[in-house]
């Protein structure tokens, strides 16, 4: 039993953290928030997918991807294409010059559906594409670079360039992709209207379930020998190579896993928010997603979720009241996260949590708190 807890959650403190998070997103927030705000939280949770993926590839693997938006966007676009085709049935688009194709294609004088849209009539194919296409792209990129020992900063710059390329391509080819506005006006998923409050409620819980499941899966990876290898190669790549491992394969694997996770987040985003646009694909959103992981804690899967929630909540709050202040704040967050708290909020909790708990236990004469704090210190690294 203990072994299973260790493997799935990373020890007792990990289990507690996981349960707290699950409780928060499954019980507390749905109970307290109205459906509009809950939908917002659902949106933030899809960003959390990317933050979690960055914990895997950046925190543990040392691979700073500045292009996770690529995969988030690809997953989102795949889902959007399916939903758009469903919404563009000949009945719905009767007034178009060419009925049966999405509206933006009609506006751009296209007369037939492009070939690469056709597979997205089928939901199973779409679901496969959501995971497979971004993973394939991630494999291509990482294979070409890691096999040639390109890493570190060079890799980051290239991921940035690819994010840039993809954004320009999507915006430029508006007949095929919806251009800068993206793919909008999505209505139903296999007949089920995704725009109703009820639907958003359901989608929220689906997102939560997927996120929690992915956290457990990631934990399984990190507690395996592969997880140790990731930490090892982050610090001493040569040593790992000279211990008989093909380091490139390990890096390729974790980068592809991170891509797949981000893609699923993107698909859930499209479902919950009802559109997908290139403003989630490029350089700026990609690096913003990094800050979620940095603030929450790049070595902590659960911390990353909190980071995504907090930073986005702050962004919404500030953008409403003090839009000018927000950019200063975010810039400051980047700098602070790097200089002051490199292990993020999770790191602060790790460092100050147990002593605080211990002191609190003494003050309130609750020995259990004190013992719990000591146990937490021992089981955490």
């Amino acid at each position: 039993m203990n072994q299973a807890v260790n493997k799935l959650f990373g020890g007792v403190s990990g289990l507690v953290g996981f349960l707290l998070l699950a409780g928060l997103i499954l019980i507390v927030l749905p109970g307290v928030l109205d459906s509009f705000r809950l939908n917002l939280v659902g949106k933030y949770l899809t960003y959390a997918f990317v933050a979690v993926s960055l914990v895997l590839c950046w925190g543990y693997g040392g691979i700073l991807s500045l292009g996770q938006g690529i995969f988030f966007g690809l997953g989102g676009y795949c889902m959007a294409m399916f939903l758009k085709l469903e919404a563009s049935s000949p009945a719905n688009t009767a007034i178009q010059t060419t009925p049966g194709i999405p509206d933006f294609m009609d506006w751009n004088q296209l007369t037939a559906l492009p070939w690469f849209w056709k597979p997205f009539y089928s939901l199973p194919l779409t679901l496969i594409a959501i995971v497979a296409l971004p993973t394939l792209l991630a494999w291509l990129i990482s294979f070409a670079l890691f096999k040639r020992r390109v890493g570190g900063v060079y890799f980051s710059i290239i991921t940035q360039a690819i994010a840039s390329i993809l954004t320009i391509l999507i915006i430029g080819q508006q007949g095929y992709t919806g251009g800068i506005n993206g793919i909008t006006d999505l209505r139903t998923l296999l007949g089920w209207d995704i725009r109703t409050d009820e639907a958003k409620w359901v989608l929220y819980f689906v997102t939560c379930a997927l996120l929690l499941g992915i956290i457990v899966l990631s934990r399984l990876i990190l507690t395996s020998k592969l997880g140790l290898l990731l930490v090892a190669l982050r610090d001493q790549e040569d040593r790992v190579r000279f211990s008989g491992y093909d380091v490139a394969n390990i890096k390729i694997f974790i980068f592809c896993v991170a891509a797949a996770i981000s893609a699923i987040g993107g698909a859930m985003f499209t479902l919950q928010v009802g559109f997908m646009s290139p403003s989630f694909v490029g350089v700026v959103p990609s690096i913003e997603m990094v800050i979620f992981a940095a603030v929450g804690g790049r070595y902590s899967l659960i911390g990353a979720v909190y980071g995504a929630l907090l930073v986005n909540a702050a962004k919404t709050m500030f953008s409403e009241s003090f839009p000018e202040l927000w950019l200063y704040l975010m810039g400051g967050l980047f700098i602070a996260a790097v200089l002051l708290f490199p292990r993020g909020l999770a790191g602060l909790v790790e460092r100050y949590g147990p002593p605080l708990m211990s002191a609190l236990g003494k003050r309130l004469s609750v020995p259990a708190l004190r013992r719990g704090a000591l146990a937490a210190v021992r089981s955490a690294k």
Partner: protein, 307 residues
Amino acid sequence: MAGYTWSEIGSIFAMQGFSGLSLFCVFLLMALGLAIIFGQMGVINMAHGEFLTIGAYTTYLLSRWAELHAPALLDYMFFVAVIVGFLLAFAVGYLVEMGLIRHLYKRPLDTLLATWGLSLIMQQTFRSAFGAREVSPTLPGWLLGSLSLTDSIEIPINGLVVMGLTFVTTAAVFLFMFRSRWGLRVRATVQNRVMSGCVGIDTTRVDRMTFAIGCGTAGIAGAAFTTIASTGPTSGSLYIVDTFLVVVFGGAASLLGTIASAFTIAQAQSILEFFSSGSMAKVMTLLAVVIILMLRPQGLFNLRIRR
């Protein structure tokens, strides 16, 4: 390519080539600064584009001041702006190194993130100070207009001036890095920091000056930039991805490589722009660069060093 005679194609190449040259100049000036900072020091400055913006806004401000208070000086204002732009960007870079960069030398990925944060702050500062709309300085009269080389080839004068400026700056950087005592100290510090400290080189000051000079060069790029486009708070970020690619493509450590790389990329984009849309030209150029980098990660120039 159908529908054009050979001489017309030649003229197209010449004219696109020339507009490509203006782009090349901006790329090169930006890349020079970045090559010094990244190639020599290993520091990633994601705020490098914002130093370009400093230079551009300086040019704008000086030209407005001249317009209002000393119209007679307007003709010379551009050169004054280049110098002041350099100095201002230099000063800001100096402070940035002191406050931020020097804590992060062993952590390149963290430097990347921290300087990105800095760029956000700088962009917002520009926005608060100058507004979100784009502005343009009033360029002196002699800078406008063009020279006619032949019947079908016209060369804009501001392009020539920018080229001259780039040439002078590149030569200055080269002389500084490879022919001066200070440049020697910089290269020594980069190659062996501990030993340099032991022989009496003040490595902290060297780092600071080097970073500041790299930023100053971006300031000059900003002044040059005002002759080809208008300036807004996010003008710098337009070029940052390209500039990093230019530096990496050219082999980071090699000055010649940087020049060759800036030229190739700028020309490729410019020429392609004529035959397809602006965005596709950019996509094809960037894609080609990325693919070449995937096949040859060391860039165009490769030195086999015994480490």
